[in-house]
Amino acid sequence: MTATEWAIVVLSLKVGGIAVLFTLPLAFGLAWLLARSSFPGKVVLDGFVHLPLVLPPVVTGWLLLLLFAPEGPVGMLVDDLFGASVLFRWSGAAIAAGVMALPLMVRAIRLSLEAVDKRLEEAARTLGAGRTRTFVRITLPLALPGILAGMMLGFARALGEFGATITFVSNIPGETRTLPLAIYTQLQTPGGEAAVIRLAAISVGIALLALVASEVLARRSGRGVHVL
């Protein structure tokens, strides 16, 4: 790998990692709401979560741009709070990646949450665990396979995210040029095939490593699933 490629890899890892970590609590909260409670407008929320999946990525990027533009509703807020903008910044790339990863993470986590045996949570309550402790010690670990699967899916998606990112935060070397943007640049160039393949192989390698890591984690924690 050249130094440039190495920098791109580091940036991609940063963007993907931060995207997944920051999206995780939100995804979990949404999955929880969708799995465990019923309220008017639940279908609408569910649909909203799926938006970034259904819309072409460039449209999602465009909507993000509307929101985060200096005069956009979120953009003004961010400016007030941090005195800065996420446009053209790696933080914006992470936001785009996180938004695209969200529906995948929510679904996987929700599937696992729905499979958690509520009788075990009841047992924990009778043993003196309040809602929080029950959640942390019982629900969360039992839903772990889904959480890990969701993180893996989300990370892979973040690693491959192109359309929303370039539309939202453009393609700035060292700041927002993640692997897929670098690949795209090469693909647009006549004769860029060799570079495309090299960069794509790097992407795939990273994803494989993440996959192995998530499998190992899942195996280390997913020992007993059955209840008598």
């Binding site: 009841e122 047992a123 924990a124 009778t126 665990a129 020992r223 059955h226």
Partner: protein, 204 residues
Amino acid sequence: MSFDIDIEVARGERVISCAFRTGDGITCLVGPSGAGKTTILSAVAGLARPRRGHIVVRSRTLFAPGIDLPPEKRHCGYVFQDARLFPHMRVRENLDFARRPRFDRNEIAESLGIAHLLARWPRTLSGGETRRVAIARALLANSDFLLFDEPLVSLDPPRAEEIAALIRRVHEDYELPVLYVTHDRSEAKRLGARLIDFEGNEVA
């Protein structure tokens, strides 16, 4: 008075109602299969919400109009009919789940014959081993009263006898009210229990 219970609990289309007061000893709630014994224990533990009535244990009101303590505030040790061990924790962690244990974990494990199982995952336990771990877990919780739902099924008679004696000892030493469900009269006798039906009438 240990338990003062008068409730109605809805289950599907049925309504299970039950009213009794118990004295100091261990009380066995009897009734045929499907009568609603498990339902009543759940309501006492705070896991099923009665449609009306009250649940008072040792003059502490757990449930009454306007009062409905959450399960974790009721301080009960509950051995479920289905053992409900936490599958993602080893036996040791299952036993240590409740904070401020009343007994030494290892002693209890010893007396229930599960000391050698502490490092095992629940799914590797036999039926009787599973029950014993569930009993140990409930006894270790520092509770104000105990609920047992057929805890000794799947246990060989000598072992069952031992554990019955242990339960009786705990009941007496700590003056804990015990509500117990079993179909085994000899087990009830061994516990020195009084048998009552859903209306609180003594059963021969």
